[in-house]
């Protein structure tokens, strides 16, 4: 073996080694990134702040409101306070009057309050609505599909959705009047 040949062989070996290691490391890096990204996206398909609020269409059961159905996409360009509640749940009952007191004013300002009910019978809901004279729409989620699509665990759960249909805030648990108003301020349409 001449010196040049040896040198060339050495160079080749070196290059091959570098290529091999680079390929293996690149493959592993791709696998790691894939794992992390898919995990991250899993959280993304979850309902979270910044994600688009899933559309739904439900029967509206509040007799004080003239809507037959509620379809979320009809409220594009308006802010929506989407509340999930039930008559058996104490904190839900507590915040209903607050929501009612804010409703007329904010409806004028372009924010709709929608309270999706999760009870199993309309009767109890009717009784409750009449007791508190609620006027905002109450869609009735009889087969819990909308609850499922919003991944609501405990109620009350409230989503504040901006005019572009993005979730701006998610609140689990009851809220005070001031808190609700503060959140409503965040989803006012541009004047």
């Amino acid at each position: 073996m001449s010196v040049e040949k040896a040198k060339a062989a050495k160079k080749n070996k070196k290059r091959n080694r570098l290529i091999f290691r680079t390929i293996i490391l690149a493959l592993l890096l791709v696998a790691v990134i894939y794992a992390l990204v898919s995990n991250f996206n899993k959280d993304k398909t979850d309902i979270s702040v910044g994600s688009q609020a899933p559309d739904f269409k439900l029967e509206q059961i509040n007799d004080n409101n003239d809507l037959e159905n509620v379809k979320l996409s009809d409220y594009e360009g308006k802010g929506v306070m989407l509340n999930f509640w039930g008559t058996w749940c104490d904190p839900c009952k507590k915040e209903m009057p607050y929501m009612q007191s804010l409703y007329p004013e904010y409806k004028k300002k372009g924010v709709e309050i929608i309270a999706v009910n999760l009870d199993t019978t309309k009767l109890v809901v009717d009784k409750f609505i009449n007791k508190f004279d609620l006027t905002f729409p109450v869609p009735y989620d009889s087969n819990k599909e909308v609850r499922d699509s919003y991944q609501v665990g405990n109620i009350p759960s409230t989503f504040f959705i901006n005019p572009d249909g993005e979730i701006v805030e998610m609140v689990e648990g009851g809220m005070t009047l001031n808190k609700i108003e503060g959140y409503l301020q965040q989803i006012l349409p541009e004047q």
């Binding site: 794992a35 992390l36 899993k42 058996w88 104490d90 989620d141």
Partner: protein
């Protein structure tokens, strides 16, 4: 790259500790495998050049060398273990107790455990297996496994392929099993070789020098095992994706239909009937046990229909459904459809489905019915008209009645303990009367009611609980675990044994090496040298 030419003529790659062909220790590289100043050679990886110990030039090499260190691998595993241990201190997110003040993790941990809880939450320990850094740690363990394996398997494979029967005397003398015999006849040398063959050694000869070897494939055990482990890791990573893995739970009442969670609103289940069968207490075989134990369930079964949503309606809009299948889901006999599996996992009983009330006069001891009405609790009405001119208004309904701070309330939306406030309108425009009726309760608010309501009859129904699963990663887990096990068995139950015979003038040198079970190797050598005057090998470890 400096090749090292050994005196036997073989050219070794840089970093070689023992010549690949003849085993002679390479000058100046003895520190790499700790052969310095020791009588016995360290035979790890057969003294081959582990490249990572040698080249450390480019950034790629540096990363490679970092991961190829077993020390780093062990540290990564230790870190993962510590993290897993810390993850058990407070409950994971999905196990936050249902009665917690708030189940939102951002609130719960701080409220329950103070600052430490807050830190725990912010570092992602509340959802450990889904936290990015824990996943990264597991992924790095995977990387370390791959690179450690490549970096050791390749040189070892080469060294074992390159080895020549003729070994350097230094190599032989510094093996753990070694003996030298001054006078050995050619016949006896022949005998040794045939003895080795009889012991099922593969024998290579090269002008009198002999290498006998068996069980080399046992050396690949760890690498096979690592391939299995890597497959298991990949399966675990795939489990992170909802496409590959879903685990959910659904309650469905008899006669009701509900969306199956985890199917993105695509599938619905209808519970036609739930069946709970118990063993017959009069059966001689079970009598004793049942007396001791109470009733024992024999079968839990849901007769279910699965529907699939047609088209792409929005959630909640009346979906158009088509039937997929109708099946009996029994304990240990799950229902499989379109990749999903439904397991019978629980039930609730004593939920009321309907109740029948009758009206009678308060002071009638016989409680003769003046008319009755039935309330369907899935859809109670406002008003019930009775036959005899009575009508009853449902003024309040509490599906699951309890007193909360002296206020009647419903604990859940499910009719487990129904209670009503009825307003009875007797015929002929008598004054309406109000009374409160529930299970075991019948309260007359004024104490002056002429009429009373009583429960005449009721119907209960079951609620069936089903686990929803979709797991495409299982086959990969099984394959990975099987390969892992094959690797373990390969490395555990076979040993790599080598015996070298080195003729020397009139005599012979015998040396032996194995990666485990030295006793077995000595036994082999004993058998081979029986009836010859070759000296038995010394175990030099004991005399070291």
């Amino acid at each position: 790259m400096n090749k090292i030419k050994c005196e036997c003529g073989h050219v070794n790659p840089e970093g070689t500790v023992l010549c690949e062909a003849c085993g002679k220790p390479v000058e100046g590289n003895q520190h790499i495998d700790g052969n310095d100043q020791r009588k016995l050679l360290n035979m790890r990886y057969d003294g081959s050049a582990r490249r990572s110990q040698t080249y450390n030039k480019s950034i790629v090499d540096k990363i490679w060398n970092f991961f190829s260190s077993v020390k780093v691998g062990v540290w990564l595993i230790v870190l993962a273990l510590i993290a897993s241990a810390i993850g058990t201190i407070f409950p994971q997110e999905q196990y936050i107790p249902a009665d917690a003040t708030s189940r939102a993790p951002s609130v719960f941990y701080e409220a329950q455990y103070g600052t430490i809880g807050q830190i725990y939450y912010q570092l992602g320990f509340h959802n450990l297996y889904g936290s990015w850094w824990y996943m990264l740690l597991i992924a790095l363990i995977g990387v370390s496994l791959v690179i450690c394996s490549i970096d050791r398997f390749v040189p070892l494979y080469k060294a074992l392929r390159m080895q020549k029967p003729k070994r350097h005397t230094t190599f032989l003398k510094r093996q753990r099993l070694f003996s030298e015999t001054e006078q050995v006849s050619a016949d006896e040398k022949e005998k040794l070789v045939s003895g080795l063959k009889k012991q099922r050694y593969k024998v290579w000869e090269e002008n009198g020098h002999v290498l006998a070897e068996k069980g080399r494939f046992s050396r690949w055990g760890p690498y096979v095992n690592h391939i299995g482990l890597i497959l298991v890791l990949i399966a675990a990573l795939l489990r992170m994706t909802t496409f590959m893995y879903i685990d959910d739970y659904v309650w469905v009442r008899e006669g009701e239909q509900t969306v199956i969670p985890g199917t993105e609103g695509e599938y619905y289940i209808k519970n036609k009937d739930f069946i709970l069968e118990t063993y017959d207490e009069n059966d001689e075989r079970f009598k004793e046990a049942i007396n001791k134990q109470g009733n024992v369930a024999k079968n839990y079964q849901t007769n279910a229909i699965i529907y699939k949503k047609k088209g792409d309606n929005v959630a909640g809009a009346d979906p158009e459904l088509e039937k997929v299948t109708e099946e009996k889901i029994r304990m240990n006999h799950p229902l499989k459809f379109d990749g999903y599996t439904l397991y019978q996992a629980g039930y609730q009983q004593n939920e009321f489905k309907s109740m029948t009330f009758k009206v009678h006069e308060t002071d009638d001891p016989k409680e003769t019915s003046l008319g009755s009405f039935t309330i369907d609790l899935t859809e109670p009405k406002d008003k019930y008209q009775l036959d005899d001119g009575f009508s009853v208004d449902v003024t309040q309904y509490y599906p699951d009645y309890e007193l909360e701070e002296d206020e009647p309330a419903s604990e859940t939306p499910y009719p487990r303990n129904p209670a009503f406030v009825f307003t009875v309108h007797p015929p002929e425009n008598e004054e309406p009367e109000t009374s409160f009726v529930g299970i075991g309760k019948n309260i007359d608010a004024t104490g002056e009611n002429d009429y009373k309501l009583g429960i005449e009859n009721f119907d209960t129904r079951y609620v069936s609980g089903l686990t929803v699963r979709r797991d495409y990663t299982l086959p990969l887990f099984i394959i990975g675990a099987a390969i892992f096990m094959i690797g373990v068995i390969q490395g555990m139950y076979w040993q790599h044994r080598r015996i070298w015979l080195h003729p020397k003038e009139e005599g012979i040198m015998v040396a032996g090496h194995t990666n485990k079970n030295w006793f077995g190797l000595k036994k082999d050598i004993e058998q081979v040298i029986a009836d010859t005057n070759v000296n038995m090998v010394d175990d030099q470890l004991e005399t070291d």
